[in-house]
């Protein structure tokens, strides 16, 4: 095996798993002293073009409390046709189908390269995917038009047999019946009144009296699709119909008087959408896609009143407990989110408005159900249009990159227990023997439900080593973890993906260097960041920062090499060297800092941070900065104010934004029009290069980042300036006049100062 770096990379590619530690401390005590918990980032559905699914059922351990899946780590007695579960050591008979098994004739799941394997199982009826559009009509004409076009376009992207439904809302909520000919028909609900699922179903006529239900059954064998068919119809059948319907969609007709916000019943609309699906298609893959152009202003879930003179809550209001509607609204959406999640559906939120739209309150809808959250300024932007289009993107097989109703079951060998998970999931409250009492994130269970996930959805899963110090693990012992993800594939198949991983145990007392070397600082940074962000949702910002700092200091104390009380002597090994920097940028990131961000933005950023894979998460923590100049090929440069030079073009990717920044000189050149002169074609190419690279990023990123093309002195340059390390500020004026970048007007500490403090504290014996 080569370096740990390669090992980590290979593992990530094969299994979609990255551990903070790749050699595990063998005792509980030692593990806690490692500061960074033993944890992993799991991308359950990581795209594996090289992994054809097998068409049979997995073989399960027969112990009812275990039910681990047969995997390459199991010991197999080929003669006796027995296998031993590597988690509970139960000896199991192979099923009859495996009668021909032998050393040379192994089923796939026993081969080491199939540590991750996917089964296709035939279970239950296959219901088509369901897409329920929930559309706000309180939009500006232009926005509405754009949105209508996007929606019409999306119909062509849907699988033909998918069911679609349409709910529009404004002051009222309208559930459109799609099956009718001639007259278009919709059910209308008051926007101010919350209804139970039962009421909604009654009012939509989904609960049929016994007699007619019988009749219905006699006509059509499957009762359910028939009943609900009025509101959810296969795309291919009502394509035209729905296109027309969308085309005729009008802005909310109720008058909005001067100084008022339009009345928007988002809360009820969502509630009805949830209720509709709950009653008709529980436990099948369904997306509720909410398109909203402003905050909910009435009814349950209202976020702000309709008086324009009262602005929507800010962080300031929230801190002062001045946000009147927040708690109630949050509760409403949480209730909805939980119901949705229970039914295995998901809610996407596409919020496009210049002001806040209440994402703070609604975030749980997307967070708990694995839905998307997209925030834009207007539906009439490519940001929204392309993002929305990308929801329906397809993978190498031509399948949608979306899966539904997944349950993730985690099994651990005895030395480990599960502390919790952080990601777009909810707990299934399965308290097995391997559930730890030490809780991180969504805890107290060994199974989670992920209502919707895509190939990049990533969960952080935290473990606790429970092996006692006095019960050493034999040399060469390995700890194993199995992730079993059952889900509905976008082709409506039920599939099970099983990933089994194992890592070596090491005694931290005498093998610390192994452990140290096997530290994955990137994963660790993201895992710690997730913990921090998770805490930030419920705790005060400063507390979280303090906690992060303390963890960092402890880590440095543990793994740094230094002389006591001598900061200058402080050194970190390679495997830790970047970690403090990550933490520095994390502290400045919008995930933990709310300054300059609205509550909605914070929610939006955190939402994405909690679900993206490692690479993207790292970009979010520490944006990437590329430099383009005549001095050489494009190169990554330090995310530092010193990198901002007049003769450079900078390309920054913060995940949420792509910023192209022309240095002062370059900007002047462009202004002078050199790029249009044939003799300066190279300048033209220089200008073009970052644009092309940005396009590459834009092509793949979901959600589509905000694309900012600015230059020195441009107002939008603030996006860049706020991210870079403020190594030069108005406070250290010595840099002025030198050709060494741009000063940042901030009082924030620079990385240098941060590191100095860190060293000092790490070497201090006081702590």
């Amino acid at each position: 095996m080569a370096t740990y770096l390669e090992f980590i990379q290979q593992n990530e590619e094969q299994d979609g798993v990255r551990f903070s530690w790749n050699v595990w401390p063998s005792s509980r005590l030692e593990a806690t002293r490692m500061v960074v918990p033993l944890a992993c980032l799991l991308t359950p559905l990581k795209e594996r073009p090289d992994l054809p699914p097998v068409q049979y059922e997995p073989v399960l351990c027969s112990r009812p409390t275990c039910k681990a899946v047969l995997n390459p780590l199991c010991q197999v007695d080929y003669r006796a046709k027995l296998w031993a579960c590597n988690f509970c050591f139960q000896r199991n008979q192979f099923p009859p189908a495996y009668a021909g098994i032998s050393e040379v004739n192994q089923p796939a799941e026993l081969m080491p390269q199939f540590s991750t394997i996917e089964y296709i199982v035939q279970r239950g009826p296959q219901t088509p995917l369901i897409f329920l559009y929930v559309v706000d009509t309180c939009l500006e004409e232009e926005d509405l038009q754009a949105l209508k076009e996007s929606l019409q376009m999306s119909l062509s992207l849907l699988p033909p047999d998918a069911l679609v439904g349409l709910i529009t809302f404004g002051r009222m909520v309208q559930v459109h019946e799609l099956s009718c000919e001639g007259i278009s028909k919709s059910y209308v609900f008051r926007g101010t009144k919350d209804l139970t699922a039962k009421q909604i179903q009654d009012m939509l006529g989904l609960t049929k009296p016994a007699m007619s239900a019988q009749q219905a059954r006699s006509v059509q064998p499957q009762g359910q699709p028939f009943i609900s068919s009025r509101f959810l119809q296969p795309v291919h059948k009502i394509d035209m119909n729905l296109t027309d319907l969308l085309g005729e969609l009008q802005r909310d007709p109720w008058p909005v008087t001067q100084g008022k916000r339009p009345l928007r019943s988002t809360g009820v609309a969502l509630s009805i959408a949830v209720g509709l699906l709950e009653g008709t298609f529980p436990n099948t893959g369904a997306r509720i896609m909410l398109f909203t152009g402003g905050p909910p202003t009435q009814g349950p879930g209202m976020v702000v009143g309709d008086e324009l003179k009262v602005p929507i809550r800010s962080w300031h209001d929230i801190e002062k407990d001045n946000a009147r509607f927040m708690k109630k609204a949050t509760k409403h959406y949480e209730m909805l989110a939980n119901r949705t999640a229970t039914n295995g559906h998901c809610i996407d939120i596409y919020a496009c408005a210049l002001d806040q739209t209440g994402l703070l309150e609604m975030k749980c809808c997307a967070n708990l159900t694995g839905g998307h959250m997209v925030m834009g300024d207007s539906f009439n932007t490519s940001l929204f249009k392309q993002t929305f289009q990308r929801v329906f993107s397809r993978d190498f097989n031509g399948d949608f990159r979306m899966a539904f109703g997944a349950t993730l079951d985690v099994k651990t060998s005895r030395e480990l227990k599960i502390s919790g998970a952080i990601g777009p999931c909810i707990s299934l409250n399965v308290k097995g023997p391997c559930v730890s009492e030490n809780e991180y994130g969504i805890s107290g269970t060994s199974q989670w439900k992920i209502c919707s996930l895509d190939p990049t959805s990533t969960l952080a899963i935290y473990f606790e080593v429970v092996n006692q110090h006095n019960a050493p693990i034999p040399q060469g012992g390995r700890g194993a973890i199995q992730f079993v993800t059952q889900y509905q594939h976008s082709s409506t198949q039920r599939r099970i993906r099983v990933t089994t991983v194992a890592r070596n145990w090491a005694d931290a007392q005498n093998q610390l260097q192994h452990i140290e070397a096997a530290f994955d600082q990137e994963a660790a940074a993201v895992l710690m960041a997730r913990l921090g962000v998770f805490r930030a949702e419920s705790e005060e910002g400063p507390d979280v920062l303090r906690w992060l700092d303390r963890q960092l200091i402890r880590l440095c104390q543990k793994f740094g090499q230094y002389n006591k009380e001598d900061p200058n002597s402080f050194r970190l090994s390679d495997s830790f060297s970047l970690y403090p920097q990550f933490m520095f940028h994390l502290r400045r990131s919008p995930f933990l800092q709310v300054f300059n961000n609205s509550p909605d933005e914070s929610s939006y950023y955190r939402h994405h941070f909690a679900r993206q894979d490692l690479t993207q998460s790292l970009i979010m923590i520490q944006p990437i900065l590329y430099s383009y100049s005549f001095h050489g090929p494009p190169e990554p440069v330090l995310l530092d104010s010193s990198s901002i030079l007049a003769d450079r073009i900078l390309l920054m990717d913060t995940f949420f934004q792509i910023v192209i920044y022309l240095g002062e000189t370059i900007a002047q050149w462009r202004k002078a029009g050199y790029q249009d002169m044939p003799e300066y074609e190279n300048f033209k190419h220089l200008l073009q290069a970052p644009l092309d690279d940005a396009q590459d990023i834009l092509q793949t990123r979901f959600p589509m980042p905000r694309y900012i093309n600015t230059e020195h002195g441009g107002s939008q340059a603030r996006f860049l300036l706020s991210k870079v390390n403020p190594s030069q500020t108005h406070n250290n004026l010595y840099a002025w006049g030198q050709e060494s970048g741009a000063p940042i007007l901030t009082d924030d500490v620079s990385l240098q100062v941060f590191m100095d403090h860190l060293k000092k504290l790490a070497v201090s014996s006081a702590s």
């Binding site: 019946e177 278009s184 028909k185 008058p255």
Partner: protein, 1114 residues
């Protein structure tokens, strides 16, 4: 009486120019007198009419004061004298003659002084000089027996067996002895009951049949009445009929005692050939006189010798129709012995109506003078407004009010006005002029806020005016100032409708509008039940089809080209479907609201639309509705949420409006206002009966309140197949001034015409919205109680979400102080409403009444029809809170007191046995009896709870004309008058004995229309009416006459059409064949007869009243 008033009007109007300019100048402040007449065009129009008027005032010379008390005596005198001799005969004669007496006055006085309609009554009596002095209708009751001899009449009447009757007839005279011994204490009911069955039993008198009759006739059950004696018109043979019967009855022979009653002496026949048919009909007496009225008069002398007629010897000749009635044979003898009053002798509504028509129909009624009693509602007359509101707008129970409350209490005559503020006028009469007082609004009294009216007194040279209601002095606003002439009258008196007319309108200013905003044009919302029943019966399809064309005829104001009214559509079963019919849509959009528990309007824009703009979308919608619900299986409906929805829609649109609800079934779906079936016949005649009239839940009441606040009027069309609880469903229409139409067991084929016709009328009629009515009175009396379909949130303001020309409010007044004879009493009814074009207006009606210190004056100026209107409404409201029996008793006792008071204080002394009725109230007993036996107060077995509630609500907003005909139906023989005659045939009294089986009759009461065909009607008649060869082939229950090109058919159909045109609701025709099972239904409307449900016959009731009165007197 202010004699001055009437005289001048003519003049100024005659000179349009000056008056006109005067008006102008005072008005717009424009100096130039040259202004073109256009603005005032409307006002000019009528002028000619005014010009012609001058005379009215003058001739009114014969003041009522000088005349004898206006009462008619059914005179015993003649009869009395004869009494000894003739026994019964007298009795009968007496009355009958009196009837004529009344008639006589009418016709006679007219000749000399036709101009003075006012006084005609008194005048009328003069010719009668001697007898009439005390013109009282005195019915000799002594013998008549209060005990209900009534029973017998039917049987007695017609059933003459010729042979026996002869014998018996003679016997009858002996009967006089019996007479004396007539038992007073006979229990009427029992006898009644018995009599009836007897009457119906088949007849059997073989000989008879053989002789005169085709066998078919034999089958006829009740020919008796028909067979009635064909009385010679003049000879007054009529009475004998009963007499003879009577006479015959006494002899307790088993034989059918009453032979074909005193058969008409053949000679009579010859004398009145034209009346052949009539003869067949046995109503000789009543009928005879009417046709040739004048002739009858000559009969007066007969009067003097009443005894003559009774004798008519037993019929020599058998009336062809007088089928021997076998039942008679079976009648228990004693019944036949009962003594009876001659029905012809008692006051006849027909006669009274006829007299009034003849006396007062020809001259216009000029409203100048105070306290004039207008002609009866049944009379066609023109009105000239000269300062008092036309009787079409206001009618009073009495036009002469007692000065003190003591007197009023003593008399017990309720003081009430029946007000129909938006009454439709005949085309000859101009609608009220609209007056605009500019921005400051109408000129009003400072204190009581009464509006400027002709009775306001201008003082101080016109700078101030004194309020005629509260005497407060108010400054005349500068822009309204005008000099007074030497009589103290403003110079512009005749130019200003509010100074010279009884009824006019003001344009309201913004202060009179809700929320201080001028209202928007109203909206109509059609809300259609599309549940299974509605769809299956074909209603939905029919309605949608009709609406397509009907929407072109929405009411519009004045000459507007297009109606300002917007329309909206809702369908519903258990949920509501709203429709977006915005003109820009290619297709209507349907919006379903299932949250019926908390109703709201799902859309604003596109729900209420202008018909012409959205026509294609609306048409498309109306095409699709029947299709969409063609396969519905939904049987449950909601109701309250539908109204809520309509109201909310109007609220959202900020306009008043009207909901047209088409509903089929009891709303049992889970929703507010859900009802359960609580129809329970066991409750009848218990203390709990009232609950059947009360709404099941208070929910609808509060809903109604909200509707009224929004100006949302609800018209309800019901199509029930079973109980729907009209009492509850009707609450909202009732309180919002809406109408209810009920079509039980609706079938498109048979009910289509009626429904569509009602619908058309209802949609097209002019409506005022969001109305508030206030009645102000001059000091001394006060409006204390209001009856009608409206809502009141306080004690003075009548609020009506919608008010049309059919709706009437009855107001009761009470004294709260003394009135003076000089100043009289004034009533001003002000109605603030929004016109159908959205204009806010005030309609003012003024009426001045006389005051009296003599009770006699009160009784002389009463109007029984109005009184009945009031009493019926009072009683119909009473059933909500008291047991029906209590209500009935209260009615009887009040009327008894009224009559007793008259007898005690006004009538000339006479024997206690005489029943003396005031001339103006002589019909009170018969009408009262009709009220008492109406379905609400005395339901028959076949009358459903819903029907009662329905009728109860209908009556509550009826005007006098409607109550009049509703309680006493019109019954017209169709073949007695030559086909060529264009006049309406004279009506006959609503009694079975008046029907002749050889004739065809038309009966209407404003809601029902029957064509009754006698069993032996001539084949020619059958052929020309029904186009079938014989009676037996007539399809019973037929609802339309075939259109045939012959004079008779045409005439009958014309008559039917004209009846329908007169009523606010389309009357479905029901053809009833004699002796068919449908006849039961028909007989229900023969109100002078005993009813199956136990209602007394007229005669019985009269006796009963007499008894009551006597008790009071003693």
């Amino acid at each position: 009486m202010n004699v001055n008033q009437p005289a001048p009007p003519g003049v100024p109007y005659g000179q349009p120019q000056p008056g006109y300019t005067g008006y102008q100048s005072s008005y717009g402040g424009q100096p130039g007198p040259i202004i073109p007449p256009s603005p005032y065009g409307a006002y000019n129009g009528p002028m000619p009419g005014y010009q012609q008027l001058p005379p009215p005032g003058v001739p009114r010379a014969p003041p009522s004061s000088g005349t004898p008390p206006a009462s008619t005596t059914v005179r015993g005198p003649s009869s009395q004298s004869a009494y000894g001799q003739f026994g019964q005969g007298d009795v009968q004669n007496g009355p009958s003659s009196t009837v004529q007496m009344q008639r006589a006055p009418v016709s006679q006085p007219f000749v000399p002084a036709p101009v003075a309609p006012l006084v005609n009554q008194p005048a009328a009596f003069q010719p009668y000089g001697p007898p009439p002095t005390s013109a009282q209708v005195t019915t000799q009751m002594a013998g008549m027996q209060i005990s209900g001899p009534a029973g017998p009449p039917p049987s007695g009447l017609g059933y003459g067996l010729p042979p026996t009757s002869m014998a018996s007839a003679s016997g009858s005279f002996q009967g006089s002895n019996l007479y004396g011994s007539y038992p007073q204490n006979l229990a009427p009911p029992t006898s009644l009951a018995q009599a009836h069955p007897g009457a119906q039993t088949p007849q059997c008198c073989a000989p008879m049949q053989a002789s005169s009759f085709p066998p078919s006739a034999a089958g006829g059950p009740r020919p008796p009445s028909i067979a009635g004696p064909s009385m010679p018109g003049q000879s007054f043979g009529g009475p004998p009929v009963s007499q003879s019967n009577h006479a015959s009855s006494p002899p307790p022979q088993t034989q059918p005692p009453m032979p074909g009653p005193p058969g008409p002496p053949p000679p009579m026949h010859s004398s009145q050939p034209g009346y052949q048919l009539q003869q067949n009909g046995s109503f000789g007496p009543a009928r005879g006189p009417q046709p040739n009225y004048g002739g009858a008069y000559s009969g007066a002398p007969n009067f003097a010798s009443p005894p003559g007629p009774p004798q008519p010897p037993p019929p020599k000749r058998l009336d062809p129709d007088s089928i021997p009635s076998p039942q008679l044979n079976e009648l228990p003898p004693q019944q036949k012995t009962r003594h009876r009053i001659d029905p012809d002798a008692i006051p006849s509504p027909i006669q009274v109506i006829e007299d009034d028509r003849n006396n007062r129909g020809s001259e216009p009624f000029v409203t100048g003078a105070r306290g004039q009693v207008p002609p009866l509602v049944t009379t066609n007359f023109l009105v000239k407004d000269q300062g008092n509101a036309s009787p079409r707008y206001i009618r009073c129970t009495s036009y002469n009010i007692p000065c003190t409350s003591d007197m009023a209490k003593q008399a017990q005559v309720p003081l009430a006005a029946v007000i129909k503020p938006l009454a439709k006028l005949p085309p000859e009469e101009a609608p009220p002029y609209v007056v605009d007082h500019g921005e400051s609004g109408p000129v009003r009294c400072n204190r009581c806020k009464a509006y400027m009216c002709p009775f306001m007194q201008f003082i101080e040279g016109g700078r101030r005016f004194q309020c005629c209601f509260c005497s407060c002095v108010t400054e005349v606003p500068p822009q309204y100032f005008q000099h007074l002439d030497h009589t103290g009258k403003r110079v512009d008196f005749y130019d200003r409708p509010e100074l010279s007319l009884g009824s006019y309108e003001f344009l309201a200013t913004v202060d009179y509008c809700k929320n201080n905003k001028f209202p928007r044009p109203p909206a109509f919302i059609f809300m259609i039940d599309v549940s299974y029943n509605a769809v299956r019966s074909g209603l939905v399809r029919l309605l949608c089809e009709e609406l397509k064309s009907l929407l072109d005829f929405l009411p519009r104001e004045g000459g507007a080209e297009e109606s300002a009214i917007r329309v909206g559509f809702v369908t519903y079963n258990k949920v509501l479907h709203f429709y977006n019919v915005k003109s820009s849509l290619a297709q209507p959009q349907m919006m379903v609201v299932s949250d019926v528990a908390d109703m709201f309007v799902p859309l604003l824009d596109g729900f209420l639309v202008n018909v012409s703009e959205s026509r294609t979308v609306i048409t498309s919608l109306l095409d699709q509705i029947p299709e969409m619900f063609a396969d519905t299986r939904e049987t449950e409906t909601v109701f309250a949420p539908v109204i809520q929805a309509g109201m909310e829609a109007l609220k959202a649109a900020e306009c008043p409006g009207k909901l047209f609800l088409f509903h089929t079934s009891l709303p049992i779906a889970e929703a507010p206002g859900k009802l359960k079936n609580r129809d329970d016949r066991k409750l009848l005649n218990t203390d709990k009966e009232k609950t059947l009239f009360q709404p099941q839940t208070g929910f609808y009441q509060s809903l109604a309140k909200e509707c009224v606040a929004q100006g949302c009027c609800v018209d309800l069309f019901l199509f029930p197949n079973q109980y729907v609880d009209v009492a509850t469903l009707g609450v909202v229409p009732y309180h919002t001034g809406g109408s209810i139409y009920k079509y039980a067991c609706f079938q498109v084929e048979s009910d289509q015409e009626r429904f569509l016709s009602d619908l058309r009328r209802d949609v097209q009629k002019d409506v005022g919205f969001d109305a508030v009515m206030r009645v102000r009175t001059s000091t001394g009396i006060r409006a204390t109680d209001f009856f009608g379909a409206f809502y009141m949130s306080n004690t003075t303001d009548v609020e009506l979400a919608g008010l049309d020309g059919d709706k009437t409010v009855t107001v009761e007044f009470k004294h709260d102080d003394r009135l003076s004879e000089d100043s009289g009493a004034l009533i001003q009814c002000a109605l603030l409403y929004t016109s159908c074009a959205g204009q806010r207006r005030l309609r003012i009606h003024n009426l001045s009444l006389n005051c009296c210190t003599q009770l006699a004056d009160l009784y002389r100026n009463c109007e029984t029809d109005t009184l009945i209107n009031y009493l019926a409404k009072l009683a119909y409201r009473g059933v909500l809170s008291s047991p029906v029996k209590t209500v009935r008793d209260a009615l009887i006792s009040q009327c008894a007191q009224i009559l007793a008071c008259y007898r005690k204080n006004c009538a000339s002394p006479s024997s206690a046995g005489q029943l003396i009725l005031p001339e103006c109230m002589k019909l009170l007993p018969v009408y009262l009896n009709c009220v008492l036996k109406s379905d609400v107060l005395q339901p028959g077995v076949e009358v459903t709870t819903d029907d009662r509630a329905y009728v109860r609500q209908l009556v509550t907003s009826m005007d006098v004309a409607e109550t009049n005909v509703f309680f006493y139906p019109r019954l017209l023989p169709l073949t007695k008058v030559p086909v060529e005659s264009s006049a309406e045939p004279p009506a006959v009294r609503a009694s079975e004995e008046r029907l002749s089986k050889g004739d065809v009759y038309l009966l209407e009461n404003g809601l029902n229309l029957f064509l009754w065909v006698g069993a032996s009607v001539q084949q020619g008649v059958v052929q020309s009416l029904f186009s079938v060869p014989s009676f037996s082939q007539i399809n019973s229950g037929l609802s339309a006459l075939p259109v045939l090109e012959n004079p008779l058919s045409k005439r009958v159909r014309d008559l039917i059409d004209s009846f329908r045109a007169q009523r606010s609701r389309y009357m479905k025709l029901i053809v009833v064949k004699q002796e068919d099972k449908l006849e039961m239904l028909f007989k229900h409307f023969l109100v002078e007869d005993k009813s199956l449900s136990g209602g007394a016959s007229y005669v019985d009731f009269l006796c009963h009243m007499h008894k009551e009165i006597r008790q009071l007197l003693s």
